[in-house]
Symmetry: C2
Subunit: 153 residues, 2 copies
Amino acid sequence: MRIGELAHQAGVSTRALRYYEEQGLLTSERTPSGQRTYPESAVERVRLIQQFFTAGLPSRTILQLLPCVDTGHASPKAFELLASERNRITAAMADLAAARDALDRMIDIANHPTPEHCPALREPAWAPYNAADATTAPGPTAALVASATLITR
Amino acid sequence: MRIGELAHQAGVSTRALRYYEEQGLLTSERTPSGQRTYPESAVERVRLIQQFFTAGLPSRTILQLLPCVDTGHASPKAFELLASERNRITAAMADLAAARDALDRMIDIANHPTPEHCPALREPAWAPYNAADATTAPGPTAALVASATLITR
DNA sequence: CTTGCCTTTGACGTCAATGTGAGGTTTTAG
DNA sequence: CTAAAACCTCACATTGACGTCAAAGGCAAG
């Protein structure tokens, strides 16, 4: 499998794949003419790398983690890294949840039919502004929190 | 309140505050000599801005959202933005959860007392590699998923 | 007045994961 | 054989939220 194929199957650009290789995250065989060749398993590997990138892990950290994936063994230092990154992610999820709650409050306020700060009654029928949701929070739509804390000015 | 005080109370740098102002996210009065002055309420506002930045919203988007916070009213376009950002955040949380699950699988594998790929028995007593967790997933520690999918090579 | 800390504007630096093009070789399809 | 498509390396550009330094002015205390 050459680089274009891998890029297609893994859903990334060829530039990204060369970058991963440059960072030591991905290896490749070379044909006599110098073109990269990958095994099928590379697709899964690239997807894993992408997952880590998406989660905000920097390439240097991923580089330290991948050997642990390959060997199934984690040195104490790698283990510490594993744990701290897990905590980072958990904290990031909490931050996201907090921001989402803030947005929910704004949505509630904008949607709340109280005339004092709601000339938003011109709206026709509300498109159900969300459809696929039940990922983490099963909450119906938005938190029912007092609005005072949001009205800054 | 001058800029240093606000920066301290809101937990950001003065550079960030000037940047926020430059982006139109934050306003300030000026003393005759040109120094910025803020009301107490600016602390909360900066915290909200920071919360949005932390959640990955770009400044341009925050700029569109803030007036909605101020007036308590959302135009249809702002409402759409609110909803789409909410969905973005939810998706990001799912991505984080997936990456965390991957880390959990790695932790499990590294920790699993099977000799085939586990010379990790040299470890003394495991520090409970996580403490504050129950943010979203009440899961005990790590998923108990088959290891085959992880062993790439 | 002067010492020291805070503030001002302006502008360049950073970091990281790519995008983008140049200029050239290899593979593939007809 | 030939043209298109895919690949190669090298290297500069991008994006965004700041960091950082420079040169200067403001403001309280001694």
